[in-house]
Structures are given as C-alpha cells and as structure tokens.
C-alpha cells in the first residue's frame, strides 16, 4: 500500500539537520559521555527524556518483534540520520527483530493465522478498530508511555479507538490526486475527484487496486460517507466504479509511483507522503487534495494480544514518541506527524505545506477517518468489487465453459470405448 516511502531527500535533510544542530546543542549536556563521543560525527543527536526508564531491562537480554510497513522508519541510511532500532537497542539493551508488511490485510492475515508473536505492530485506523473488536490487540499501560503527552490533542480519542486505550498515533496523511500538470489543463483549485471520471483522459487514469480506498473515492464523488454500510449506497458507489472502468488504464497500488513517474499515466489517486517523493523527482507532476473531501488515514502503534514482552513493547512505543526519534522518522518517511514536538522541529516550509499539513478547518470538516465496517458490509463491498473487476467488456463467450466441459467428457468416453474395444481384440 504505502510501500514507496522516501529514501532520499538530501536537500531537505541538509536544511533540516542544519537547523536541528542549533536546536539540539544545548541539550547534549544531558547525554552520557560515551554516547556523546560516539555521536560527535553524527549530525542528528538523540536525547531521551528519562534515561533511567529505558534501562530497566538493560541486562535481561530481551528481544521484541516489531512488524511495520516497508520503509516506514528511519534507518540511518542517509548521512547524519538516526538508525532508530539500533539506537533503541543501544539505549535499552533490548534487541529489535524488525520485519515489514505491505498491506493492513497482510498484517491481519498473519496475526489471525497465528504462529507469529509480534510485540509492536503499526496498523491503520480501520484495521485497529477491527482488531479491537476481535480482541486481537490489547490495552496499553499509558504509565509506561509518558511521551504520549506529545501527541496532538486532535489525534487523540479518534473514532477507531474512542477512549484511546489501545493505540498511539505514529503518522497520518491524506489521499489526493497526483496529475501531470503539463497535460491536464485545469486550475489546481478546480480539480476534484470527478477528474478520475473525465472521459477526455480515457486510458490515462490509474485507480487504487483496493476496494476500501477505491470505494471511498467513489463514495466521496457521490456525496456518500466513506464509512457507509448501506447496501444501496455501496451499490451506487459500485455503479460509479463500473462506469469508470472503461476509462481506467489499470488498477494498481504501488505501481502508481513508477507509472506516474514514467509518464505512462496522467492522473492517479495517491497518498500525500508518497506523492511528495514523486513530485520532488518529477517537475511536470502536481498534487492536490480534493476540496470536496478525502480520507485521512492514521497509522498507530499497538501491542497485539499474545505479545511476549508487553512492557518492552510499551517502552519501544514510548521511544518512538521521543521528540528526536519521532522527528527522525517523520523526516525520513515524509508523511505527516501527530507529534507536537516533532512537528515543531520541522522546517517552516514543510509545516505550512498544504499537502502534508492542510489547514485544520479542512481536516475537521472535509476529511474522514475510516472506521471498520461490519463483516456484512465488508463482504458486500468485496463482492461488488470482484463483480466490477471481473465484469466482461471484451466479448468472452459465456458458452465456452460448458461446451469445453462437454467436449472433455465426450473425449474421455470416446477414448475409453476405443481402448476397451482394442483391449478386447488383443485377447484373441
């Protein structure tokens, strides 16, 4: 889903780390000597709020299993950035087994299937509410996560976790439209979801290959809530998608990145954070968050039921909320942060970017966070989606299957009879 995360943003990095150096210089006295020495060469330094808290398990030889999206953490690959997992191990003595998944559904299937014990997972909003409902994640002990205080108030107590007992927000973002501004001759303000239905761009449009995201777009187009469970409304959305099918070039997810970059398509929906990465590499492309409304997604850290090291997992979550770490991560992955201190550390240019941080009024009024749908609605949506996707617009004859099967049967019978006769002859 959000596979292509930022790998390089050298220019931005240089600017940010430079400004950071100034900001962090006064704090570095708090660090112990060994660490300070080691990090002299590094550009970004790490200061934690309560070093004592992190050393509780120092000598226990613990390890935790962290399961996260691909390219969704700062790995220190860019010069002068922090390798978050390595820093955690260095600080706490807890080893981090870090693995990736590509979609929420993959994460769900993995947990549901059992056999894997994860301590920290980072699902999206609707998946969190689904997992809460199915008792797959457990309540967090927020006494162990004092850094929760940094989370902005408008990212607490959201619909997917109303009392905010299960999750700590990690990143957020919106879905918008990425398009080739040199070909699409429209004012940026005028571009809305209906451009994905515009026949002038037939065969130049890409669409999400994921029912939930695709339905959300069709539902917004029709003025329906993207959390609807109403059969008729779902069918209305499915009809829109069906109508769109003839002008859609392909249903893709991560390929949007390559196809838009290569100029294979002109218009596609995409996640704001990833879109920024393409825009940086490609001057002709532009990105707009449609004013009629869009999906706001939040990825949050949770501890699944069956985690072996809950306290260590909470320590890891707390660590991810350390201002320095949260900043390093958000700087690397380019999504938007719900972390106040990390936000304050960002460049002015990023903080005021309408792509990463649309104004609060827009967020409050025009964006919707997915909640989990009932099993029936999910199934309904999946069925409508499969039906739409497999509908024939080419002329494949429906008689082929029965005729083919009958021919098979006839051949078997004929051959068997012939063989039988032959065998009889052989006897004499």
């Amino acid at each position: 889903m959000k596979g292509y995360k930022k790998i390089f943003s050298l220019a931005l990095c240089a600017a940010l780390t430079a400004s950071l150096l100034g900001g962090c210089a006064s704090d570095s006295a708090e660090e112990n000597d060994a660490e300070a020495e080691e990090e002299e060469a590094a550009v970004q330094t790490l200061t934690v709020s309560d070093p004592e808290y992190y050393t509780r398990f120092k000598d226990d030889g613990l390890s935790i299993n962290v399961y996260n999206w691909g390219e969704y953490i700062s790995t220190g690959a860019d010069e002068g950035t922090l390798d978050v997992n390595a820093e955690f191990t260095k600080l706490t003595g807890i080893k981090v087994n870090y693995t990736n998944y590509a979609t929420n559904e993959e994460l769900y299937a993995k947990l549901k299937g059992g056999g894997a014990a994860y301590d920290v997972i980072i699902p999206s909003d609707y998946m969190i509410s689904k997992m809460i409902k199915e008792n797959m994640i457990q309540k967090l002990d927020f006494d162990n996560i004092p850094n929760y205080e940094y989370i902005m108030p408008n990212f607490r107590d959201l619909a997917y976790d109303p009392q905010n007992e299960y999750s700590v927000p990690y990143t957020w973002g919106t879905v918008g439209i990425i398009y080739d501004a040199t070909v699409v001759d429209m004012d940026k303000e005028d571009i809305d979801w209906d451009i994905l239905w515009n026949e002038d761009y037939a065969d130049q449009i890409l669409m999400f290959d994921n029912p939930r995201d695709a339905f959300a777009i069709a539902e917004t187009l029709n003025g329906i809530s993207m959390n609807t469970e109403d059969t008729e409304e779902l069918e209305t959305a499915a009809r829109s998608l069906m109508k769109q099918k003839s002008i859609v070039q392909g249903y893709v997810m991560d390929e949007i990145f390559d196809k838009m970059g290569a100029g294979d398509a002109l218009i596609a929906p995409y996640y704001a954070g990833d879109a920024l990465t393409i825009l940086e590499e490609n001057d002709s492309l532009d990105f707009v968050v449609p004013k009629s409304g869009t999906n706001l997604f939040i990825d949050a850290m949770c501890v699944p039921v069956g985690a072996r090291q809950k306290e260590a997992a909470e320590m890891y979550i707390n660590f991810m909320c350390e201002p320095d770490i949260a900043f390093a991560n958000i700087d690397y992955i380019c999504y938007s942060t719900p972390h106040q201190a990390a936000y304050d550390m960002l460049d002015e240019e990023v903080r005021t970017s309408p792509i990463s941080y649309p104004d609060e009024e827009f967020i409050a009024e025009k964006t919707t966070v997915f909640v989990n749908l009932s099993d029936e609605a999910n199934k309904e949506m999946q069925d409508l989606w499969t039906e739409m996707k497999s509908a024939e617009d080419e002329n494949v004859n429906t008689w082929i299957a029965p005729i083919f099967l009958i021919l098979c049967m006839i051949t078997i019978i004929v051959v068997l009879i012939r063989r039988h006769i032959k065998n009889k002859k052989d006897i004499f």
């Binding site: 769900y108 549901k112 065969d203 130049q204 999946q382 082929i400 098979c408 051949t411 078997i412």
Partner: protein
C-alpha cells in the same frame, strides 16, 4: 529390499507438506468459522464462473502458443551437435535464473503506453497501440515465463529419438511431413504431455502476471484466491473452496490429456 527405507525422508516430507496441507484445504473449504460442516463456500464458487472461464481460456491459449513455439525449437535443439546443445540449453534456461517478478516487471516497461514498443512505433510515425492491461499481455506474460517448461521436457524426449529411426522412415517412403507426424510426434508424445502439464498448471493458477500485466481488470482464479486471504474481507474458507474447485478442474483437464498418451504412460 532394505533400499526402500531410503525413501522414508521423502515420504515424511510428502505427508507433512503435501498431504496434510491438502487435507487442511479440504477441511477449510467445507467448514464455516465455527468449524461446522457447510457446503456454502463450495457452492459460492459458482458465482465466479466467468473468472474460471477466463483463466482456463487464457492458460489454454498460452499453453498452445508455448507448444507451437517450443516444438520446433526443441526438435532442432535435439538434432544439433552435442557441444552446441549445451550452450543452447543454457540460453533457454538463462531467463529462469532471474527472478520471476523482475522478468514480469520488465514487460511492464516494454509494453507500457510510453514503453519501448510504443516509443518505437511513435518514432516510426505510427499510432501507439494499447498493449499493457489487456488479456493479450497476460497471455504473453504466461508464454514468456513458462516457455522453458515446455522446451525442456520436449527436448529431453526428442534427444532420445534415434536418428536412424527417422532415416528408416525416409527409407520406407515417408516424406519429411509424414515422418514428422507418423514418427517424431508419436515418439515425443510423452514430452508433449508433460510439457503441457508443466505449462498449463502454473499458468491457470498464476496471479501476479495478471496483476502486473493485466492491470488488475483481467482477474484470474489466482487473483480471486489471493483476494480471499489478503483482500478486504478475510475469508479463508471461500479461498480454500476456490482452490479445491481449481484442483478438481485441473484434475479433469489432465485426465482428458492423459487419454491421448500411450497406454503405459500415466503422467499424473
């Protein structure tokens, strides 16, 4: 007699990794979430007939194309000098050393709207053609990826056809066409059969080729099964039921195929 105990490791392997999973597929297909028996899922597979038809149809075309392309290749390969054969075989196998996904990915750039082929067409002053995201592209992907599986069994059978048999046919008055159809084809029948099996079975159950080259609107059975596990609604029971029906379908088709092979050759 004691030698048969050496097959014990494989027997264990077969039970643990083939038999048990198969039984689990069957179990999932016939039960609901509470583990109670139901045929709901198996009968629901009927809704997807058109996807089954498309899968069978596309993979049959791909198999036929593979056979037509591979047969002459395998024949001339088997008639070459021994030392040249090794080199040629390596060239046939070479693409298989590369990752399957990577190879398919390469086709995306070749067939794309602004891809290599359309770029050349535009340079030649022709209109670009829509190549990717069509069922033709899916067939092309199957043929490209599975062609070696057709060439290799054909080659290994043809290599064993004695040159003198063909000469004898000529001596007895066969022209080249009739010696092909009366001598070479019947002798290479086992190779044709196993080649067809090895291309058809993976082709009918593939999902990544249709995803990447079919643009997501040419759903095959493989995509459908994948959607049950990693899609919007997690339904392993329906997924297992579809897999089971697919297996039954392949079994039927393979039985038909086997009717054409010599009596002592049973390939399944």
């Amino acid at each position: 007699m004691k030698l048969k105990y050496f097959s014990a490791p494989y027997l264990v392997w077969m039970v643990v990794f083939i038999l048990v999973p198969l039984l689990m597929v069957a179990y999932f297909a016939f039960t609901n979430d509470n583990g109670a028996f139901t045929i709901k899922h198996v009968s629901a597979v009927g809704e997807y007939t058109n996807i089954f038809v498309r899968s069978v149809w596309l993979s049959l075309i791909a198999t036929a194309v593979c056979l037509v392309v591979a047969y002459p290749v395998a024949f001339f390969l088997s008639r070459m000098d021994k030392h040249k054969q090794g080199t040629m075989l390596m060239i046939v196998m070479l693409p298989m050393w590369m990752n399957f996904l990577l190879r398919t990915y390469a086709w995306m750039t070749i067939l794309g709207n602004k891809g290599i082929i359309n770029h050349l067409l535009t340079l030649a002053g022709l209109e670009p053609v829509k190549l990717i995201n069509t069922s033709g592209a899916v067939v092309l992907g199957m043929v490209y990826n599975y062609l070696p599986f057709m060439i290799l069994p054909l080659y290994s059978v043809m290599e064993k056809i004695d040159k003198s048999v063909i000469e004898a046919a000529s001596d007895l008055g066969c022209n080249s066409v009739s010696s092909l159809f009366r001598v070479i084809v019947p002798l290479s029948l086992p190779g044709i059969m196993s080649g067809i099996t090895m291309v058809f079975v993976p082709a009918i159950s593939t999902f990544i080729i249709s995803r990447m080259l079919g643009g997501g609107s040419n759903l095959l059975i493989g995509d459908l099964i994948e959607m049950q596990f990693l899609g919007n609604s997690y339904n392993p029971h329906l997924g297992a039921a579809i897999s089971l029906v697919l297996m039954a379908l392949i079994l039927v088709i393979m039985t038909v195929m086997n009717q054409f092979s010599p009596d002592d050759q049973v390939l399944m």
